[in-house]
Assembly symmetry: C2
DNA sequence: ATCGCAGGTTGCATGATGCAACCCACACTG
DNA sequence: CAGTGTGGGTTGCATCATGCAACCTGCGAT
């Protein structure tokens, strides 16, 4: 049956996953972010079915995450580039990469991010912009209509971040 | 046909998505992180099919993301709690939430994160741990076997992060 | 005795995916 | 100008995952 849309869920996580939650979608974005921008290159690297790739690319273009631009005429050939909305996905890709590095059992990280100025390997961490403190060191609470005490009637709890 | 496993891809993003990339999985983790921990509560909040929820929960337990713990006997009743591996997913959930807040067209964020000490709304940003500088302000390059110059023969490019 | 609840399991219909084959316009080679 | 290669797809078919509703089981309460 059709996969249910999350879009009526009044939850930003659900809104995001409604756009980038399909299988392959974030891997396609990852490849394009890393400089693989053409249909055949993406298809070969990922091993994704060609019709599925067509679907993902057009859906991402429809959602404004990618732009399809011709890089030559006669014959017309295309590449896919990130829009600002697409570039804003980088924190998601990077945190997914980190979690995979730490927890998925690969012997060592297949890819490192380096700062081109210092040449150093980067260690990305999520902090509060104002205080600069890592979120995992704070007592963080979620507030909003969507988040309610659960059925036990317990009071709202802190998020377990570490 | 069966969805292809990404696990032989030598890419941490793929490894992560192999575990948390199924539809509903991250929404289930989100709910549990926000304190919804019981089968029926999750099922009602998400509107997920009950058999699908069963599958997602057992898969997450098998992967060590969740722990199924009894909170009473006679009759035995269970709740699902995050393991350390599951708690480590919080940066992914939070960055997904941010992207949804910014780009998915909701009038305003349905949920805010606040610091319980200061009471202030948190604005999470991904920085390099050592320098404290936001990644989007750096020239970042990905290095590793998986990342190669693309078919145009162009040299390795910086990641477009902003 | 039966009602309800928590936490599932089962059966069926359909849509999404994988896979292979095909297509089309153009360019290059002989 | 016939044949071959390349980029970027489309089409058909088989199968798996999902949605949905119904059913089940153990227990406590009425």
């Amino acid at each position: 049956m059709k996969r249910k849309s999350y879009s009526d869920m009044n939850c930003s996580v659900a809104q995001s996953l409604d756009i980038v939650g399909d299988p392959w979608t974030l891997l396609v974005v990852r490849d394009i972010m890393f400089g693989i921008r053409r249909f055949n290159d993406i298809q070969e690297r990922l091993g994704i079915a060609r019709n599925t790739l067509t679907d993902r690319l057009t859906t991402l273009v429809d959602h404004g995450v990618l732009a399809k631009v011709a890089y030559q005429d006669n014959p017309e050939r295309f590449e896919y580039r990130l829009t600002p909305k697409g570039r804003a996905l980088s924190p998601i890709i990077i945190t997914l990469m980190q979690w995979g590095d730490q927890w998925s059992g690969l012997p060592e990280p297949p890819v490192h991010l380096i700062d081109r100025n210092s040449g150093r390997i980067l260690d990305p961490v999520l902090v509060d912009r104002q205080s600069g403190r890592p979120l995992e060191q704070l007592r963080v609470q979620a507030i909003g209509e969507t988040v309610r005490p659960n059925s036990t009637g317990s009071q709202r709890e802190d998020l377990e971040l570490r």
